[in-house]
Symmetry: C3
Subunit: 636 residues, 3 copies
């Protein structure tokens, strides 16, 4: 007779532990000396026959029995002997089967998801977390991760009926079944799923967490160039890389919203490449990169309510229809300002994590509490000269270092696109040169990206942009011809626009000696075509700076907006906006940007008042040769 003192903290009143074999278990799954929950299936003179599973059964001799049983009774037994012929000998354990702690035993070998590819046809069990639950017309499909990968497990209850309705997202489970090749990718045909709890859950969870944590650890590649100013940012970027990798490992979709300009594309595309590679590696389903990664350009310099509403709408639909987790949002070359916070707050209602890598002047007090990670050179005393593209190339390499060779020219493109005057530009240009791109070729790419982005509007146009940026180098001639075509079209259209505008530019000399140029871009520029008002104003400004060599301010205005560029004058556009809001009643002023590059919106009826007040402020600004409009393409 045998009484167990084993006890589980969670179930203090229970008596010991007995293994409960899944129906498919075989003699491979049992061991002498262990206790089992069994069912009586025959009562004979010399004892009772018991079943431990569909194929495991044996005798409890009457000499080992204290109680009497009937067919169908449950009994706790100890396996005392496995005879040479395979017969099993048991003895009764004097424990009430209803009070014993049952340890579910799955049939098959313990397996890791990462190595299921080689095991088609095998019976195995997995232990891990549930990361997606999708109800199909047939089975319920649970996606399980164990840190080595994510695999779909199909459990069938009845057509379209939720199997294991108790199981929820993020439960820790043991799933046993047969490895099948579904569309030839591994999938588990589920025999049983059991939710783990107590110590078992803690053990599995610790193992999964450890594996995920290890797998989430970003690589630490040598930076593309030496650049002390950048070093402070690497740790922040590593945290973002870790968060993104973890999202992939937990089956969470990732949605990237990036500024639809050259630097934004140079930042978002490498990250896309790296993450799609990682998703392919982690997920058994080859369609996973398409389902779990989405990149979307933002036309406005902040995250608009309309965009967040659309994003949320899609996320909730994917949740309902595909049982996906809600996504992680990654803001790229955008997302640092107060104007982003309403959209962030909308996501916060749904506990959607948000990361941002940006080089626009940040308002950390406003956005900080809403972001899980926020990387911005201004937070380290640096500035916009470290562009988002430069940062995200390093970030992409932390996620997937194998793509380094494809990215060597990208930071230089990003820097030229945002006219970065960073010291490091020279080294980036050299690096690009050594990869086969001289400065003129890089400038062509900048123009080509700008032109392509204009016409793509709200599409991400992945392949066209990849070809223009030369991210997959399998057809260098196509890249070269495409860039040549797009860049020359862009330049010709700019030329035409400025030629039309030229005669309508108003010029005056301000009291402080600066030139002020004004252009009504609504009435003296072509509408709804390339270049848009912001680009038109910027190009006009550049010409005037070059022509005069003096301090220059340029204003391009329409019925309800103005675009500002300044070189050599100590402006502070964000501050001017704040002042205008205070001074002008009913003008509906909003906007901002950088010190000397920005845009201002107002209600149409207040245009004259706003422009007059603006010019007054410019009139009294000091000259400052260092303040130059370097982020030209950022607003408009």
């Amino acid at each position: 007779m045998n009484s167990s003192t084993a006890s589980d903290g969670d179930h203090g009143s229970r008596e010991g532990v007995a293994k409960d074999l899944a129906p498919g278990c075989t003699s491979d799954d049992i061991e002498e000396g262990a206790r089992y929950v069994a069912t009586v299936n025959g009562v004979v003179e010399y004892g009772v026959f018991v079943d431990l599973s569909e194929v495991v059964s044996g005798l409890v001799h009457e000499s080992k029995l204290d109680s009497t049983y009937e067919i169908g009774d449950e009994i706790v037994v100890e396996l005392v002997e496995i005879r040479e012929n395979g017969d099993l000998g048991f003895e009764e354990v004097a424990t009430d089967p209803d009070r014993v702690n049952r340890a579910d035993i799955a049939h098959g070998d313990s397996a890791r998801i990462g190595s299921l590819g080689d095991r088609t046809g095998d019976a195995v069990y997995l232990e891990g977390d549930v990361v997606q639950i999708k109800q199909t017309a047939g089975p319920t499909v649970f996606s399980i991760r164990d840190g080595t990968g994510i695999v779909p497990c199909a459990a069938f209850e009845a057509a379209g009926v939720r199997a294991y309705p108790d199981i929820e997202l993020d439960d820790t489970v043991r799933v046993s079944g047969t490895v099948e090749a579904h569309d030839d990718a591994p999938q588990l045909e589920v025999e049983t799923v059991s939710i783990l709890d107590g110590e078992e859950r803690e053990t599995v969870r610790a193992r999964v967490d450890e594996a995920v944590e290890a797998a989430a650890t970003p690589t630490d590649p040598e930076p593309l160039i030496e650049w002390p100013a950048f070093d402070a940012l690497r740790e922040d970027l590593a945290a973002v890389a870790r968060r993104l990798r973890r999202a992939v490992l937990e089956g969470r979709p990732i949605r990237v919203r990036h500024h639809a300009d050259g630097d934004g594309m140079c930042a978002a595309l490498p990250v896309q490449l790296a993450l799609e590679n990682l998703i392919s590696e982690v997920h058994a389903d080859p369609d996973a990169p398409r389902h779990l990664f989405k990149r979307l350009p933002s036309k406005a310099p902040y995250y608009e309510m309309e965009d967040v509403t659309r994003d949320l709408n899609f996320a909730l639909e994917d949740e309902v229809r595909h049982g996906q987790r809600l996504p992680l949002l990654f803001m790229v070359d955008n997302g640092s300002t107060e104007e982003d916070t309403p959209a962030y707050r909308a996501l916060a209602q749904y506990d959607i994590p948000i990361l941002a890598v940006d080089h626009h002047h940040p308002d950390p007090d406003a956005v900080g509490p809403l972001l899980e990670e926020h990387v911005n050179p201004y937070l380290h005393g640096e500035d916009y000269r470290i562009t988002t593209g430069m940062m995200c190339v390093e970030l992409a390499r932390m996620i997937d270092p194998s793509i380094t060779d494809d990215l060597e020219h990208v930071p230089a493109v990003a820097g030229l696109a945002d006219r970065s005057k960073a010291d490091a530009m020279e080294r980036y240009l050299e690096l690009a040169e050594s990869a086969g791109y001289d400065e003129s070729a890089l400038n062509d790419i900048v123009e080509a990206l700008d032109y392509a982005a204009h016409w793509l509007r709200y599409s991400s146009g992945p392949n066209l942009i990849s070809d223009a940026l030369d991210l997959d180098c399998d057809d260098p001639e196509r890249h070269a011809e495409l860039v040549d075509f797009l860049a020359s079209r862009a330049r010709r259209d700019v030329e035409d626009q400025l030629e039309n505008a030229e005669g309508h530019v108003e010029h005056e000399r301000l009291d402080n000696g600066a030139h002020l140029y004004r252009l009504d871009v609504e009435n003296h520029a072509r509408r709804f075509t390339y270049p848009a008002p912001g680009k038109t104003t910027g190009e006009l400004h550049d010409r005037k700076v070059t022509e005069t060599g003096d301090p220059v301010i340029t204003i391009g205005y329409g019925p309800d907006f103005s675009v500002l560029r300044s070189d050599g004058v100590r402006l502070d556009i964000p501050n001017m906006v704040t002042e205008l809001q205070a001074e002008l009643d009913g003008a509906g002023v909003s906007g901002g940007g950088h010190l000397v590059v920005g845009s201002i919106k107002f209600v149409p009826g207040a245009r004259e008042r706003v422009l007059d007040a603006l010019v007054d402020k410019m009139e009294s600004a000091e000259l400052d040769a260092d303040l130059r409009s370097t982020l030209l393409r950022d607003d408009g």
Copy 2:
């Protein structure tokens, strides 16, 4: 010898009836005394052996034979005896097999679609109507309904080749085959399909009709509150419920077009919930709710030609690609006016049935002939105070009473959204209170819905709106936070807009003593953002009513439109529109609305003339304290 006098009305020249067994028929499908069409498969001295199917055969003894036959001849026989050993004895019937009326006998049990789930692997036959014919790359899939459900039946002729090309939508058929689990939902693998005609068709059709009619009968739940004014509408709503249920039962897609405002969403969402539940129940295919139900918001206060063109385009594509029936259109909180008739007429070309539940002032002469059902309180001497949301909550309960508990707060939200002054509001508010929503929470929901709808634009945003309206209560905290966020954003944006506008509001005192406020919403309000011109005008009006306590008229105008609100003045905007059309040549006036809430469009060049003429009319209007602008959100 045996001659039959049986005859079928449709085939007067035919001689009697004989059963014609399908090839798969077994001895289960035959009975003594019945006549069969058989084929001679052996001629011996003592008679001929005949086949009735692949496995049913027997002897016609020479004593029972009058004629001589060769192998392959057809013969009509009567089954005179089934011997104990299973041998069959036949006698010849002196009827020309070419002239007999053949009754096709399918193999298997007669089955009802509603219970196929339990019969996987069984040979059965079904009788019912064809409600969809979809040609796939492989088989042709006929969807059959028999009043107990709808099931896909796959018939294979050759890859991508239409099987049974004679069979058309709405034919009554007998389908025999094997029940299979396709993606584990029941599907019939077809052996034979035969079109029924004559008496057989009538019998089956009567049975199906009876079953459908019974299943289409709406439930008659106790109204949520007692409200005598509402009683007259219940019968009309029951007719709509019956029509919608019947559409589901005949596999017809349903397309809901609803007013994109608070009341419209409170009306359309409960109906969506109820219908999706019903579709799930009726259809074996779990994707059916997604394929057969679509809800779309309408921005305009009527059904625009562009919307109907798009709807028709999709419907015709679904018809061609998926063999779907053309849909039923259900107009919700919209659809009662003359302006809806062009769109209705477009649908009429395609015999698409249209229903409307609305509380806007109707033009029954214009829309009546085009609507199958038209529910509107004005048709019963009631008015807009019975909102569409109030009506559709009862309608939804008639379709699926099980959702009652989720809907108790919805009529109160609908009433507040449309500012209903109905007596019943008090009871609706109490009901909502008892369900856990006080008036302030309900008002927050109203603002939240309005704000979310604005940013969703043409998306229906089902999950976001469900969360805001708290239609599925599994996460009350999410609902509360979301509503709080959206409502506070909405209020802040309104506040900002009015602050900008305030200084530009023009005020005058009309001869009749009313205050007239005018705002140029194009020039003195922010464009393309929340709140839109209609909402801006409404909120301004409300403030002025509160501030002055006097009769107030407010006009918000843009280049080609004006929005009107009036309190305490006897206006009749629809009539003013008619007068302006007659008085002002070339002004292109259109529009309308309610007596004291409406909007008017005109060509931009006629703006001054239209506004002047409008003010003249207002000047001479009598005061009337009872006429108040209660349906504020309805136009704009």
Copy 3:
């Protein structure tokens, strides 16, 4: 001993040729006297046993052996004898197996794709070109064409892993495998694929090319009417038909961009019908027509950068996701002018072939080098009176003559839509009359198409337009009612618009005696509705021509555009645009059209200058009764 002198030009150093059997080859695949690469699988006293495939093996007697071998060694043998009992006798060939030219021998019969439908379960091999390579989650699917059809061939390496990574699009291959019915359409389950080279490739390629060329040859149906002026165009159209048929035969997607007006639809729809029929015939996959054909209307009278960017984006995505070739672009009733060239150049970067059939005044120098085929009556001394619809009906018949009966009324509709004054119109009208459409019915169709196209905006609305044009005649009543409804709505809306405009039309008599009518369509016409400014101006002009009987010019203008119509005056609008560009600085003038029908764009600030300059030019134009605005619907 045997030494071969056979040699392959590509492999000069190699010694002779030996066949290399695929593993599945049987005795059906061998012949006495041929040489084979074999593997030693047994060494006995009296010789060595060799395997030629999994089931073909035999003995090389020691008397026929010069060298010694071990198990696993490769050896070149000649099959000297197939004994009656099936035993095979070989002799060694003294050739180094590493230096012999191996000719891969596939198992099974040589088969043609066009006849695979009857061979399910058979082992066969195909020879042809690779036209699509699609990586699925499971196998890699190669689409192979051999001139008789195109069939998917599924090769499995590992889940989602590219099988045969060396094989590229357009390689010539031999594929052996088993014919299976996938979704019941034929598909080859691949056993082996080998890339053919040298002479073998040339032979197969020649055979495929010949078959494709033969299959691409357009039919040469009798023209619908006799029309000498048209004859010159038939050869050009045959070349287009051949190019389109070839595209189908090589599995290349076809994208049609057509002018969104009556003539454009009358041209594009018959071509769509013919090509979809051909695609169905060629491709085993019944979804092929949907995947490989797309028709899109263009709102502008030229191919806009935004449209080409979108088209390119989709094409690149289909290339990446579905392994499709890049498409062929077919411009219909559009595409002949300099304004099309930027878009064409964008496509040229991707080597996308472009064809155009158009009757607008062409600029062959600009577009010629960018088009593979360019059909335009002006290139043959004819003019717009031969409409694109007339040409494309004949083109469609060259692709699929079986649709002739459905198209007899279409040229007449096209001619009326573009007001063609061609002599042939009378015969086309007679042809339509004999098909059951009198001139009034045809005019109704014209109005109906115009109205439907307006509301469809960027949708192609295939079924709605088909019904309006009566292209599939299965429901003539639906067609009649639909046309009646659309046409009467169109006429009523035009009536309303002109009534509004009437009072605001400015009239003056020019020095040359012509009437000039001007209308501000922005301020005196309803916006965003039917009829749009171009149609409004055209209808106004028509009325004035009828009213006065004199020469008339009509200008409809908005903030940044004007629409021009002229009758009886020798205008040359394209030339006027060129002059204005030279004369007016900063006006941003662009546009053009026909001599007396066109539109001009400018920057809003230059409107007065542009209109004044235009009127000056009109003032001095000569009268010419022959110049009439016949292509009214073409610009607007």
